[in-house]
Structure formats: structure tokens, C-alpha cells
């Protein structure tokens, strides 16, 4: 027991990787065995992170459960991990969504061994980003998550669809989407890499806790370290490199175009994780690195960020409204919802130290969690109907509610959570963001709330096209009700949505403490 308590975070981080190796050694024909091993293995991190959740002391400031071990001594990088309220929330989100997504992938038949291994490696990559307290380690896990996702989209993505490139060459849509995803993210992380190196060279350490201590004095100097650059220059270069890398990942309009492609082509569970957790990595980067290291720059450019967030909210909603592909609709809704996260961060950056900042950041982090739940749920529901109908074209559905009432009910519930109906989770976080941002960026917040109107519109449009209206006769007898496994997948998500809607305080308590510490 002591061993577990002392190495809690390490265990959470590496159990998925061990399981991935174990699965890779199992014979590929044993599909049932592989599925269950993957599922059960993903329950261990969940159990441990629940333990972590209850053992976490909210009254205490700073990082807890820290572990620090030399890793790459030559450049002074160490394996340093720890959690605060923000990362704890994200770790919990990741460990909740992974077993759910694995359960959702029980219907995958093709090369299940590779699929499950990659999935668990992906989990390790994401957890690593949330747990790292060392810049180099942060980057390591940031990149590691990229590879499994690339292969999941590239290999297990939707088999149909072609895309014409310049010069008339035709490639599969999933090849195009995965390549775009990879190159966008790699280009972003190139800046991140160079910025991290610059910081490492200048400060001589990658350790975040030390960096937070020496950073303010350091950047006030005119002539730093071996480069002889002024603190202001270094801050400006690394600030923009970080912002661009994280903005690409969130993604913030206008860097979002990889997202609809990647989401649409990814396998169902891949989309769930992509929307549920991977997008949060970018926002988490803003919270963990940009706000604490660059308060001044963040304040100066918060207006730009708020503007882009408003654009994401409005155009995300409008684009979603214009889609005929159900999955693309949900994908654009992610752009729309993540806009609120960014708006909250921007408002907090501008009004640092005020209660508005605390409220809007609370909203932003809660919105990250909430969007994780609702986006995962929506993508799963799209996947469920796609598996039965083999189409995602909204115009081909219609009037399905009487045929599949249970599915319809679940869909309605999840959509409402996504739309922000009071009583469900989305409402609380969007309200907090808007409440916090209103006094800071009144115009943008007002525009965003108009954007919320479009959010309602596209979600209702989706519901109408699938569930209501005249029944498309061809589905009678061809579409079956949601099955027990799929209900089990949705159940925890729905319970959490409802619970967070009624009683958000259990999560906000943890988040609030960390948010207050941020400035």
C-alpha cells in the first residue's frame, strides 16, 4: 500500500504503457481477450486517480504527490511529476474517458491488437502532459500522444471518402486528415520545442517549480546567460511560440481547420478522445505555462485572444449549422465550445488578480471537463448510428425517434447538455465564463452569447434531422436500437453530466484553489 501511495502518479502514468506492451504480446486472434485486457487495464488508472482525487488536499496550495527523479542529467531535465487542482481535474477526465472509449471500441474488428495498444499509449501521452512539472518532460509527452492518434486516424479511420489534392491526385480522406493533423501539430510543436530549448539554455533548468521561482527576476535582466539577449526579447519569442503551439492544439480560430477533418475521419473512440481530451492539452498549456510565465504579455494580447475566441464561438456555430455530415457538425461544435474555454482564459489574463479572473478561469477549467464529457458522448452517439446506417448524411435520416426511442432519449439528453440547458453541466461552466468575462470584455462576451443562440440552433437542427420530421421509410427494419454495451458506455457520461449540472461544487472546489494560485 505504501508503494502505491508513494508512486501514485508514476503508476497512473505507466500502467497504460505496460498494458500496451502486454497486449502487443498477446496473439492477435484472441480478440475477446484483448478487448477485456485493455478495458480492465484502463480501469486501474481510473481507480488510482479516484484514490488520488480523495487523497488530494484542497486546502493545501501548490503541487501535491510530487515525484522527482533524474532523467536526462546532461541537460538538467528530470522526471518531475505532480498534480494541482487543474491537472487533477484533467487527469480524472482522461482516466474516465479512456475506459469508456475502449468499451466503445469493442465493435472494432480490424487488427484489434494494434488498436488497443495504441489507445493505451495515447492515454499515457495525455496523462504525461497533465502530470509533467518539467518542461522537457512536458514536451516529450506532448509529442508522444501525437503518434498513436496519427495511426488511429490513418489506419482505423473511416474507410470511405476521397479527397482531391492539388494536381488532381486523389488520396483517401483519412490519409489526408491524419497527415494534416500530424503536420499542423508538428509545425506547432516545432515552435514549442525551440522555445523550450531557449528557456533551457537561458535558465539552465527545465524544472517548472524552479522556473516559476527564478523566472520573474531573470527576465527583468537586460543581458541573460550565454545568448546576451534581453529578458524582454526572450519573453516575447517564447511567448509567441507557446501561444501558437497551444492555439493550434485547442484549436483557436483560424488554426482550426485540421480539426473537422481529423474528427470526421477518426474512428469513433478516436474522436471521443480527440475531442474529449486532446483538445484540452492546448488549453491546459495556456493555463500551466502561458499565464504563469507571461502575465504581462498575456494581459497585453488578451484582447486578441478574446477576439479569436469570439470568432471561434460564432463561426464554429455557424459552420456547424451549415454541415450535412453529422460528425462534422459535432466536430464544429467542438470549435464552438472550446471557444468558451479560450474566452475564459483571455478574460482571466486581462483581469488578473480580480474576482472576474477567478470566476472565468473556474468556468474555463470546468468547461474543459464538461466539453470532454459531452463531446465524447456526442461523438459516440454519432458512431452508434453510423455503425447501423453506414451513413452520416443528415439528409438521409429523419423521424427515427419512434424506431429507436431509447437512443433518441439518450441523444436528446446529451444534446441538451452540450447546448447548455440549465440543470445539466454545460450551463454551469458557460455561465461562469460569461459571468467572469462580461465585465472584462463586454462586447466580445455579448457577441459570444449571440453565438450561443446559434449553438442552440445547430443542435436542434441536428436533432430534428435525425430524430424528428417525416420518417425516412428505408430505415424501417434496418436500424436497430442501441444495445446494452452502448448504453453502459453512455451511462457514466450521462450521470456525470447530470451530477455536475446539479452540484458543480465538488469539482469547482478543487479547481478554485488551483486557479487562485495561478497568479
Amino acid at each position: 500500500m505504501d508503494f502505491i501511495a508513494n508512486n501514485l502518479l508514476t503508476l497512473i502514468l505507466f500502467i497504460p504503457a505496460l498494458a500496451a506492451v502486454l497486449i502487443a504480446l498477446l496473439p492477435g486472434e484472441e480478440k475477446v481477450l484483448i478487448r477485456w485486457v485493455a478495458f480492465i487495464a484502463s480501469l486501474f488508472p481510473l481507480a488510482l486517480s479516484l484514490f488520488l482525487w480523495f487523497a488530494f488536499d484542497t486546502s493545501q496550495a501548490g503541487f501535491q504527490f510530487e515525484q522527482n527523479q533524474a532523467w536526462y542529467a546532461a541537460i538538467n531535465a528530470s522526471f518531475h511529476i505532480g498534480v494541482d487542482g487543474i491537472s487533477l481535474t484533467m487527469v480524472l477526465l482522461t482516466t474516465i474517458l479512456t475506459p469508456i472509449a475502449i468499451l466503445a471500441s469493442f465493435s472494432v474488428e480490424d487488427r484489434i491488437k494494434g488498436y488497443m495498444s495504441l489507445f493505451l499509449l495515447l492515454e499515457m501521452g495525455m496523462l504525461g502532459v497533465f502530470l509533467s512539472l518539467d518542461l522537457l518532460l512536458f514536451f516529450v509527452f506532448w509529442e508522444i500522444g501525437l503518434v498513436p492518434m496519427y495511426f488511429l486516424i490513418n489506419q482505423w479511420g473511416s474507410p470511405k471518402g476521397e479527397r482531391e489534392l492539388w494536381g488532381g491526385i486523389k488520396v483517401k480522406s483519412r490519409t489526408y486528415a491524419s497527415f494534416k493533423f500530424m503536420i499542423y501539430t508538428m509545425a506547432g510543436s516545432l515552435g514549442l520545442l525551440l522555445a523550450i530549448q531557449l528557456i533551457g539554455v537561458v535558465t539552465g533548468t527545465y524544472d517548472l517549480t524552479q522556473l516559476f521561482l527564478i523566472w520573474p527576476d531573470l527576465v527583468a535582466m537586460d543581458n541573460i546567460g550565454p545568448l546576451g539577449l534581453s529578458g524582454e526579447t526572450i519573453k516575447l519569442i517564447t511567448f509567441w511560440a507557446f501561444v501558437i503551439a497551444f492555439a493550434l492544439k485547442v484549436p483557436i480560430w483560424p488554426f482550426h481547420t485540421w480539426l473537422p477533418d481529423a474528427h470526421t475521419e477518426a474512428p469513433t473512440a478516436g474522436s471521443m478522445i480527440l475531442a474529449g481530451v486532446l483538445l484540452k492539452l492546448g488549453a491546459y498549456g495556456f493555463l500551466r505555462l502561458v499565464l504563469p510565465l507571461y502575465p504581462q504579455q498575456a494581459h497585453d494580447y488578451a484582447g486578441v485572444l478574446a477576439f479569436l475566441a469570439t470568432m471561434a464561438i460564432i463561426f464554429g456555430a455557424l459552420s456547424a449549422f451549415g454541415q450535412t455530415d453529422f460528425k462534422r457538425l459535432v466536430a464544429y461544435s467542438s470549435v464552438n465550445h472550446m471557444g468558451f474555454v479560450v474566452l475564459g482564459i483571455a478574460a482571466a489574463a486581462y483581469a488578473q488578480g480580480t474576482e472576474h479572473a477567478v470566476i472565468s478561469l473556474n468556468g474555463a477549467v470546468l468547461q474543459m471537463f464538461n466539453h470532454g464529457l459531452s463531446a465524447a458522448g456526442m461523438f459516440f452517439l454519432v458512431g452508434v448510428i453510423y455503425e447501423r446506417a453506414h451513413t452520416r448524411d443528415l439528409n438521409e435520416f429523419g423521424g427515427l425517434f419512434p424506431l429507436i426511442p431509447v437512443y433518441g432519449g439518450i441523444m436528446l439528453f446529451t444534446s441538451m447538455a452540450s447546448l447548455g440547458l440549465p440543470g445539466l453541466n454545460g450551463f454551469v461552466s458557460e455561465f461562469l465564463v460569461v459571468r467572469g468575462a462580461w465585465p472584462v470584455f463586454t462586447t466580445y462576451t455579448a457577441l459570444s452569447m449571440i453565438g450561443l443562440f446559434f449553438t442552440g440552433a445547430y443542435i436542434l437542427l441536428g436533432l430534428k434531422k435525425v430524430l424528428h420530421g417525416p420518417l425516412n421509410e428505408k430505415w424501417i427494419g434496418h436500424i436497430s436500437e442501441i444495445n446494452a454495451r452502448e448504453i453502459i458506455v453512455m451511462a457514466p457520461l450521462m450521470v456525470l453530466m447530470l451530477w455536475l449540472g446539479f452540484w458543480p461544487a465538488w469539482l469547482l472546489n478543487v479547481i478554485n484553489r488551483a486557479v487562485e494560485m495561478l497568479f
Binding site: 541537460i75 516529450v140 508538428m186 530549448q197 533551457g200
Partner: protein, 496 residues
């Protein structure tokens, strides 16, 4: 007297090579087994050497010194420090895996292995030599069998041309370097080729600045530095698989290592003067090499030019002349050696079955040979500098070093990472996934249906891929060693 482990490592291949020539040519199995046994023996010894190097003591260890031609100050003088111990290990690994994957060579295996082993002796010799004459001596021993190996067993289309080009380039390079070496010998007034003694010769600044380019560039030709790189992709492509592995995996390091040992370590002031210019050449290597690799259609040319790009990073790391850059370059030599050996092994296995290396004519190999696919993907990740693999461990400090030396160079060369990612992903996508052409899937008049690789091939790939991951996850197995070697160079450079 201690066990002369270095001499045993150096001469085991040579003696085995000569013994092989005594076995009748038609007894191919015996020839192969003998070769494998000798390679395994050298590998075990080099592993032992690697792990028994005592970090706490540092400096040159396992030193052996015998006078050879005392009138001219030439001695047989060998030893290892933190920089060449990994390279000896690298040579051992590439030699062993090279023999494993050459099992199927049916055309005069006896001569093939004999030449390959003579080559290995040359390579081992250069890495451990502490006497400049010995270094040149072994250097030429390494270049000569290369010519025969490519010209006899190489790819029929270009082998004569490539072998000739390679040999001429390397001989000219080594002659230029030799001129510089002799200049040092004569002007030092010590009357010795002993490099440890020459380190303290105290050459004048003008002397160092004048002769450094001769020595450095002469050897850097073999390291593939732009604009003297274009023998190397041609040579890689024409060489048979095991020779490509040796060529890109080990031989190119020979150039970089000799440029370091003779150029930077003996002429530190010259290095300090010239490095700002050398780094300009390496930018071209790194970025342009990656770009050229991106537009190739022949799989082996892609790997060949990617080697040019990665070796550019090695030279760039050395050019920074600071701790981070040189540590990175030292690790990069090892990491790139293993990675590129893996690439060429994998490509060779596919070529043997498909008889083409054109990327658009291949496809769907992952299903047929999953181990090759996984190994190639791991190699690709290393090549992209993906964290968790050795490429990251090596390239990260190189870039850190470059930041300290010339920040704008780091930003420009960073572009190569994205370019590399794009071609690696494209290759993995079309060669390993994608659709396999009909005539490869089911066979036709000229092709057997594609099947899986042999068990020996798999062993070789697993060894290589495993090492790449091991160093990526636990950098401490190699970095402290390289660091100790680099510290010594920093002392020579003025005790930074």
C-alpha cells in the same frame, strides 16, 4: 599484463576474414556460421568494453601501446574514452546484425564476408586509434574493401559508377587530411604521431587556422558534409544491404569522428576560428538534405539523403564547440548509426522480395511483414526526433548547443524536423500501408508472392529497434559516457 581487449576486438574480424578465405567456397553454411560466431564474439567484447569503462576514472582506458616504427615516431597505440566507446559498440552491433541479415547472400558469401570483416577491422581501428598514423592506416583499410563490396555485390545498375565515385572522393579527402596531419607531425617538433602528445604540442594560432580546414574538411567528406556529400547517397544505393548498413551506420561516423579527433582536438584554435563558417555548411546539410530526401522516389535514396541531413546535425553539434552541442552530436553518431542500419536492413528486406525500391510501386507491406513495419516505424520516429526514442535524446542537446552559439541557426534548422516528418510519414503511409500491387500480393512470372522475413532478419531488427527505444527512454545508459569524453575536448578548447 591486462587482457588486450582492444586489439582482440580490432583484429578478430581481420583474422576471421582471412580464415574464411581458407574454407572451401561451396561450404556456405560453415562460412556463414563462422562469420556469425566471429561477429558475436566481437559484439560481446564490445558490450563488455562499453560497460566496463570506468566513468569515475575517465580519460583513455584499456590503453595498449607498442612501438612500431620508432625511427618515425609511429606506435601501435589504442585506447577508448567516452566518445569512442559508444562507437566501438555501434560497430559491433552493426557488424553482428549485418551478418544476420546477409545470411541469404548466395553469390560468393566467402569473399563477401571476408571483405566485410576486413572493413570492420578498419573501422574498429580508426575508432580506437590514438596514433595519427594508425588512424590513417586503418582509415585506408576501411575504404578499400568498400570499393570491392559495392563493385562486386552491389546494385547492377550503378555499382561501378558509385564504387568509383565513393572511392575517389574518400581517397582525395583522406589525402587532403593526411597533408594536414603531416604538417602537424613536422611542425610539432616532437617527432611523433602520438595524438595524445600532439594535443599538447602548442601549435601557433596561424598554423592552426591555416591547417584546420585541410584536416577537418578532408575527414568531413566521409562524414557527408555539404558540398562533398554526393558520393554518399549514390554509394548507399548501390551497395548491398549489409554494406549500406555499414556504410551509413558506421563509415560516415568514421569521418565525423576523425574530423573531431584530428581536427578539433589537435587544432582547437583553428576550430574556434573556422566553426562559425563550418556551421553554415551544416545548415545546408540539415535543411537541404532533408528537402532532397523528401522529393526522392527511390526508397534507398530517401534514406541516403536523410543520412546526409542527420550527419549534418552531427557536424553542427561539433561546430558549436560547447558542451550541449557536442554531447548531442556524440549521441547522435550512435543513434543515427543504429537508426540508419535499421532503415537499410528493412529496405533491403523489401527489395529482395519486391525487386523494386520505387515508393509508388510498393505498398501494403505491414500486413506481410509486421516486424519490419514496426521496426521501420520506430526508425522513422527516431528520424523525426520524436521523444521517447534516441533521436530526441541526441537532437535536443544539439539544438540547445546551437542556441548558445548562433540562435538563428537553430530556428532555420528546426524546419528540417517538419520536412523529415513529412517524408517519413509519407513513406510509412504508402509503403507499409496503402495497397499492395497485385503482382506482389499474388506473384507473377517474375515475382514470388511476398511473404514474411526470416527469423534471423527479425532478430536483427528487434536488436536495432530495441536499442533505439532503450536510449530514448533511459538516456543515462549512454549520455554520461559521452559527456565524459566531451569534457576532455572542452578542456582542450580552453577549459570552458
Amino acid at each position: 599484463m591486462q587482457f588486450p581487449i582492444l586489439s582482440v576486438i580490432v583484429f578478430t574480424p581481420l583474422i576471421t576474414g582471412l580464415l574464411l578465405l581458407l574454407i572451401p567456397g561451396e561450404r556456405k553454411t560453415e562460412i556463414r556460421v563462422t562469420a556469425l560466431a566471429a561477429a558475436a564474439f566481437a559484439l560481446v567484447l564490445s558490450i563488455w568494453l562499453y560497460f566496463s569503462y570506468d566513468l569515475a576514472v575517465g580519460g583513455y582506458q584499456f590503453v595498449e601501446k607498442y612501438t612500431w616504427l620508432p625511427q618515425l615516431g609511429i606506435s601501435y597505440y589504442v585506447g577508448v574514452d567516452g566518445l569512442n566507446a559508444p562507437l566501438v559498440l555501434l560497430t559491433g552491433i552493426v557488424m553482428f546484425t549485418g551478418v544476420l541479415i546477409s545470411w541469404g547472400i548466395d553469390d560468393r558469401p566467402r569473399e563477401f564476408f571476408a571483405f566485410l570483416f576486413i572493413l570492420a577491422t578498419g573501422v574498429f581501428g580508426v575508432f580506437v586509434a590514438l596514433d595519427m598514423f594508425m588512424l590513417f592506416f586503418f582509415y585506408e583499410i576501411a575504404v578499400f574493401p568498400m570499393y570491392l563490396l559495392i563493385a562486386i555485390w552491389g546494385w547492377k545498375v550503378t555499382r561501378e559508377y558509385a564504387a568509383m565515385k565513393l572511392t575517389l572522393y574518400l581517397f582525395i579527402g583522406s589525402v587532403v587530411a593526411l597533408v594536414g596531419g603531416l604538417a602537424m607531425y613536422f611542425s610539432s617538433g616532437l617527432g611523433t604521431f602520438d595524438m595524445v602528445a600532439l594535443e599538447g604540442a602548442g601549435f601557433s594560432s596561424n598554423f592552426q587556422i591555416f591547417w584546420f580546414p585541410f584536416v577537418f574538411l578532408g575527414f568531413a567528406v566521409l562524414g557527408g558534409i555539404w558540398p562533398f556529400h554526393n558520393w554518399s547517397p549514390d554509394g548507399h544505393v548501390a551497395a548491398p544491404t549489409a554494406v549500406s548498413m555499414f556504410h551509413a551506420g558506421v563509415l560516415m561516423k568514421l569521418g565525423a569522428f576523425a574530423a573531431l579527433r584530428v581536427g578539433i582536438m589537435l587544432l582547437p584554435e583553428g576550430a574556434t576560428f573556422w566553426m562559425p563558417y563550418v556551421i553554415l555548411l551544416t545548415i545546408v546539410n540539415v535543411v537541404y538534405g532533408a528537402y532532397i530526401a523528401m522529393v526522392q522516389t527511390d526508397l534507398k535514396y530517401v534514406i541516403g539523403f536523410s543520412s546526409v541531413s542527420h550527419m549534418g546535425l552531427v557536424a553542427m553539434g561539433f561546430a558549436t564547440l560547447n558542451h550541449d552541442g557536442m554531447v548531442g552530436a556524440g549521441v547522435q553518431m550512435f543513434s543515427h548509426g543504429i537508426m540508419t542500419a535499421l532503415f537499410f536492413a528493412a529496405v533491403g528486406m523489401m527489395y529482395d522480395r519486391a525487386h523494386t525500391r520505387q515508393i509508388h510501386e510498393l505498398g501494403g507491406f505491414f500486413k506481410k511483414m509486421p516486424i519490419v513495419g514496426i521496426a521501420f516505424i520506430i526508425g522513422g520516429m527516431v528520424s523525426m526526433g520524436m521523444p521517447g526514442f534516441s533521436g530526441f535524446i541526441a537532437e535536443f542537446p544539439i539544438f540547445m548547443g546551437v542556441w548558445q552559439f548562433r540562435p538563428w541557426v537553430a530556428i532555420i534548422s528546426g524546419i528540417s524536423i517538419v520536412i523529415t516528418a513529412s517524408y517519413i510519414i509519407r513513406i510509412i503511409g504508402s509503403v507499409f500501408f496503402g495497397k499492395m500491387p497485385e503482382h506482389l500480393e499474388h506473384g507473377d512470372d517474375h515475382h514470388e508472392p511476398i511473404g514474411d522475413v526470416t527469423a534471423l532478419d527479425k532478430v536483427a531488427l528487434v536488436i536495432l529497434a530495441g536499442i533505439l527505444v532503450l536510449i530514448g527512454v533511459f538516456p543515462s545508459v549512454m549520455v554520461p559516457l559521452v559527456e565524459s569524453g566531451v569534457d576532455r575536448i572542452l578542456l582542450l578548447l580552453g577549459g570552458v
